[in-house]
Subunit: 654 residues, 3 copies
Amino acid sequence: MRAAGLSHVRLAEFAWARLEPAQNCFEWAWLDSVIGILAGEGLKVIVCTPTAAPPAWLVRAAPEILPIGEDGHRREFGSRRHYCPTQPAFREHTRRIVAAMATRYGRHPAVVGWQIDNELGDHNTGRCYCAACVTAFRQWLARNYGTLAAVNDAWGTEFWSQGYTDWSQIDAPNRTVAGPNPSHVLDYYRFSSDSYASYLQLQLDLLRQWAPGQAATTNFILSPDPGLDYHQLARPLDFVSWDSYPTGYAEVQAKALYGPDVQRPRLAFDLGDPYVTGFAHDLARGLKGSQPFWILEQQCGHINWGVYNPGVRAGAVRLWTWHAVAAGAEAVFYFNWRATLFAQEQYHSGLLNHDASPAVGYADLLAMQPERDLMAQVAAEPVQAHVGLLLDYADLWALQLQPHHRDFGYLRHLFVFYRALRRFGLTVDLVTPAADLSRYPLVIGPTLFLVSEPLAQSLTSYVQAGGHLLCGVRSGFKTPSNRVTAQPLPGLLRPLISATIAQWHALPPGVDYPLASSIPGLDGAASLWAEALTPWPLAAGQPAATVLAEYAGGPFAGQAAWVETQHGLGQASYLGWYPTESQAAALVLHLAARAGLSVPGEMPPGLILAQRGRFSILLNFTDETLNTQFANCTHTVAARDVSVLSDMGRIVGS
Amino acid sequence: MRAAGLSHVRLAEFAWARLEPAQNCFEWAWLDSVIGILAGEGLKVIVCTPTAAPPAWLVRAAPEILPIGEDGHRREFGSRRHYCPTQPAFREHTRRIVAAMATRYGRHPAVVGWQIDNELGDHNTGRCYCAACVTAFRQWLARNYGTLAAVNDAWGTEFWSQGYTDWSQIDAPNRTVAGPNPSHVLDYYRFSSDSYASYLQLQLDLLRQWAPGQAATTNFILSPDPGLDYHQLARPLDFVSWDSYPTGYAEVQAKALYGPDVQRPRLAFDLGDPYVTGFAHDLARGLKGSQPFWILEQQCGHINWGVYNPGVRAGAVRLWTWHAVAAGAEAVFYFNWRATLFAQEQYHSGLLNHDASPAVGYADLLAMQPERDLMAQVAAEPVQAHVGLLLDYADLWALQLQPHHRDFGYLRHLFVFYRALRRFGLTVDLVTPAADLSRYPLVIGPTLFLVSEPLAQSLTSYVQAGGHLLCGVRSGFKTPSNRVTAQPLPGLLRPLISATIAQWHALPPGVDYPLASSIPGLDGAASLWAEALTPWPLAAGQPAATVLAEYAGGPFAGQAAWVETQHGLGQASYLGWYPTESQAAALVLHLAARAGLSVPGEMPPGLILAQRGRFSILLNFTDETLNTQFANCTHTVAARDVSVLSDMGRIVGS
Amino acid sequence: MRAAGLSHVRLAEFAWARLEPAQNCFEWAWLDSVIGILAGEGLKVIVCTPTAAPPAWLVRAAPEILPIGEDGHRREFGSRRHYCPTQPAFREHTRRIVAAMATRYGRHPAVVGWQIDNELGDHNTGRCYCAACVTAFRQWLARNYGTLAAVNDAWGTEFWSQGYTDWSQIDAPNRTVAGPNPSHVLDYYRFSSDSYASYLQLQLDLLRQWAPGQAATTNFILSPDPGLDYHQLARPLDFVSWDSYPTGYAEVQAKALYGPDVQRPRLAFDLGDPYVTGFAHDLARGLKGSQPFWILEQQCGHINWGVYNPGVRAGAVRLWTWHAVAAGAEAVFYFNWRATLFAQEQYHSGLLNHDASPAVGYADLLAMQPERDLMAQVAAEPVQAHVGLLLDYADLWALQLQPHHRDFGYLRHLFVFYRALRRFGLTVDLVTPAADLSRYPLVIGPTLFLVSEPLAQSLTSYVQAGGHLLCGVRSGFKTPSNRVTAQPLPGLLRPLISATIAQWHALPPGVDYPLASSIPGLDGAASLWAEALTPWPLAAGQPAATVLAEYAGGPFAGQAAWVETQHGLGQASYLGWYPTESQAAALVLHLAARAGLSVPGEMPPGLILAQRGRFSILLNFTDETLNTQFANCTHTVAARDVSVLSDMGRIVGS
């Protein structure tokens, strides 16, 4: 490991059965020994709590801890994540094992941190439907609403005769004849996320008590929809970390980000999709407000859980590592050291092959040795984002519950703007609308779906203080209870955008409404979703909106499609259609200019510009040499290569 | 509502929890007040029984009323239609609420009628598999068959060792290892439909007792396969009503009507498919034998349960209303008044928007005001159909259970003939073979699958008295028990059609057998299904069949494909292949001429001709101006417009 | 039957309820009578044990015999195969009925043999997940592994904290949160197959005791993956038999054999696919080591369980019969005599139609009468295969559990080689690697996945004694426990092939690595799967490998792709990519030459050459006349026809 340049080792994940082979019988010798050996070699250690894999004896002793799926069926022992975080018995077992580990290693000099559990919510475990969850959900509702009348009102239970007259009548919203009430479901999702948050807090509290000097995190999967509110989960962590599998994300998860008719960039087959990977990096960085993060699992060869699991050639691991560092990573761990000879992940590669010979990722680590100092310099710099792109998990879930148009995905809509911003090299933080937005000259909220009074107020304050905000279609449509606003659309956002939505249409494939605009490059038509705007003033004294685009045909002909309004020192605008990537690019140039942002350059597909402090990093994810104009020079980056530029010129790169 | 020209209001659907918030505690004040206000404004009221949504307290008190799906799993409270109609406990609760409502409003002068329950069978609830159903099914079998030996014989249980030696051995036909016995399944379907019919009758009896002067109906969904026998359900109703959602039907249900390779007409994207909508109108009209019907829910903007849920522009609601009136509607109600702010149907439009402003449908109502008198005149006329097109639910289910060829759909086959007939402006009643057919010069039975002696006899009588009958492929194949006839095919229909089927072939995609015929326009080849006919006389004294088409190649080369025979004053013919729409058009012209029908004209795709008494109505469902020759004139109808013609010339229309 | 030329009748399949209508009450009269009538006409009888269809009374008396699916749900009475073979109660019932039948007919002069049960494993019944199976599985593990520690080690349960500390903790590997442990699953599959084998043995033992002079078999379905180890099941049978449905196999099962991008041969639509049918014949023949087999059900018209169930024209049944006889059949039974009027298989054709008139298959039987003597001569000859193609069910299952690349199918890989071999008219036995391979000049193991020491040794002995062996990709990857070998790849096969795999890549669609080779006709690129080989000697004294092909581009450029090594009197070679059919053809010509095989000829697509003793049979499965060069002559075979050649020239054929 030292020869490969590794400095830290992560271990004990899933080792519960080894550490506690029977209740209260602990076996520490093997782990003491391993940590001792690593420490002797100067390696630092991250210890994982093993709670993602309760042992067989525990499950037999407390079978009620097994989770119940949305289909009402119990999931059984035999893999991992076979627990319900709400179950009191499981929390009790968790306390015992975590306290035991923390007291044993909480002051070990080689142990620098802790990973809690593993990939919370993976394998669709973010929500359980067991009896304990239903009981806890009723209590959660009582805490949050106070009275049953308030629940009935928030959910609109007078519809379809759903009114509850006793708390015990409320179930989990699964297995209904027709679709369940979307307000009921959204609250169940919130409750489920809260249950994981409190389970995470339980472990955090024990670590802070018994391992006070060591940092604590949990390794997120940044699958587009994890079923959990990561903003909430990230809040109490010392830092954010995530598990990065570029080829797997490109194979399995990209469809949640690209619409069915979207032309995808042409990329090298074995490097993943840097827009998808970068979206996850920028989300990880935004979870705690533009902070550095760790990669606790970096793919280092082929994986085993994709569709084709393409082989990975030399250079990929280096490129992924540079991508992570450029995007804000402070540390990158590789998964895993040696390919496992047995069980579920046999086909997953390691830095070493099954026979312990060096694998392709190991060779990349050696190739990166000369670049390690530079990496450290880059990693010491802050990432300063130009743009805040707003993501809210309740919005995501609410839209998932009622997409209305099959192809309208919350994250797809976000991703159109993301790709347009990244095309011009703009650095983007994916952040919650509740974050401090004042650090961003420009903020884009593609679908600010559920809008509360405080949110409307804080967005207004942001704009008045000089911020620039774009809201996209369907913003302001809902209340936080997932009901439609009773006000004219976009509800509470009207005063800010100085316009009202007169009509909106979902557009099936093949139907579009032509647009006209004087904004350079903004042409074509509205497809997928269109809203006709009535710009203010409707009455004297209202701020006046400027029309930036209008419908040039179809039933909305002559009505506004994009409006912009000055408020105090800033501007707010509302876009009335779901843009194509090329339309979004024209929008971005307009918005950046308004916000006083200087656009770094225009990157061809597959070439990624990441800026971190005084460094600019260009990464080429294609099989061809690519060029770009950037900072008054033409830069050429070889296929699969990286170029690191600083104010003193090119440092790394062909 | 009055301003919009509305005269009737439908209410209290699903309001059980509001009317009876605890068992036997009724709250009438709010409903008394609403009806009073409406009555004060001169509006008439349809009251709905709320049984499609039993309240939470009721479900907790009698959880056995929850339905069990074909998968054996219980469906839970939380949406609607969460009941089994067979459950004695639910029938008891039903009696109480319906009797209470009927006694309260049964003589109210503003209440003119009742809607029982809502969309019976929707959300796949037509069949329940609970223990009460299984018990009732055994009793149903005992009533219908008398002895277990008769059941064993009818189902052919000697196959696969299925013989029953005790009634208690008979289960519902679900969750079997391989497919269940199709005779067993068909009887379970019949039993299920009977259970709904008796549940409907229970409510009808109470209404007739306590609300004797008020009409009673139930609002059908005319989804292609509702899982219930609508002929049976419609029989005791005062009139038929249904819920018409043209864009939803075009998106979700049209695939049951169009085959996978069928070229669909090019239509305006937001108007639905008038062939699909019209098929439902013509089915509704035929359910009680060519009687007028009501639309209890007419789409009045976008819906929320489709795939893309396209926005709807001005004019659509007017066109749909005219289509309904022209097809036989006596009244059209719109769903709903104001878009709901909460719960499952938030994304469904109303005549008013969520913020109570007028929506696109409201504007259409205003635009229709000048046409209201004419509409009333049209609605006062009878619809006189040229053609009876035969639909039998047992045939539909039996073919669904054994399609043999994946793409052979009973309703698709029907729909080919339907479109060909409507292309020439012929008015079609979709009727049961048990209906009085003597009113139709021409009758087409695309798949008369299960044929009893009485049916064969009544069809023969119809022909002998001067009727013209076409039978399509697979007719006469089965007995009413869903066994194959032991006679040469087409079984009991042979004497009527004077031919025997020598061989039949299902044809996979890409395979067809060429045809030859002297009938004008009849060319091409047989695809999907082909039968080789041996025309009679086989022996002296049999009536002789005329061959109208024969196979010109393939393994049936030289054998007859279509035969026609004179019987008494009429003619019967048998078509030996599944025709394309263009072949069906040639057939229709031949058959119409034989039946002495004068074909009104030929309509281009998307232009619908409907005739009601002295009025002819042309409706254009495309985005282009369309012309047709009709009654010796060329008629031009603007895009999305309607033209109403009478013997005195054009009344409405551009 | 005699008129049609039939000599044997198979009966009593599924007749349990008729034979034993209540427990221990037997009714023999009807069967005595039927057998008597047949015997009187000189027909011989195969009696079937009826255990595939336990009667209703039995299931009510012992409901625990119903099988539990992988989803944990019980399958119910109402079709067939509704039993778990492990259940003690079902074995007890089986003993009673089989003993009763065997004692009654075991010495009947007309009864020549027995079919046990029917199509074991059909309808996905090969594996049950009931409590009795779980208990028996634990016992099976204890018998096979001795200790729990050995199980933990074999399965690698230290992964994901899966270690067992008590036998009772071990479940069936279903309903887990993520995928179950593949070693656990493979052992469950083996256990399930063992359970069926012991159930089959139970019946065999009774038949051998009570019907000692009569042969016993069971009719296999040769679906590509039956879920049972047919090599194991076939071992104790007197001879192998199977049920041949060419159009059904072509419609439903061919997708398991052809990859998604493979160009399929153009064939007559109603004759099935002779490569798919032939693959099954050659598997049946190989099950007991190149022995003749019986067809107990030969399709004789259309079937009812396919997708389109195409009609069948005259000549098809003759062609299928000749194909079976040419491939090694000793007897061909047709299913069924008369099309059934009732129950699940109503739409299945018979030799007689539903109305008892002769059907298309009957006519073919008459047409075959003049050829019966010749058929008997052919059937008396042995089939002598040129090539052994290795199939192992544990390999198949293990690869099915971890395909790694979605399109990599074990049988598809096998089938590429099969088609290439058959293209040149080479006769192929599909055999287990444990068979005596010395009879084959050439052996191909496309994916020798799980390799034990004894297997590596026996393959080495085969080669050293003069055999020629080709191993394909992924060979030697696993141990028999379904763990990855800890040795360099291909593990235990390295000494035999004299090469090591340096790297391997799964290749997604559209990605390929160019190849270079001097082997005639071997060109193009590696797709789907590629392995880079390092040929030996790596050290002095190792046998040297010859490189036959290498990578000419991509990340493996310059590395070996195919190597060949001399060992003793024979040669072993390893192919480092998944070949296309055309590449496989070039390989086959090279390998045949090396093995001293004279290639009979090259057959155009759809023309099948089968050789049996002194006869060569050419069968044309297309709609066109086809020619081939064979034995120094051009042979022409008419569409849908057969040509039988002997050393004395053409005997049958146009």
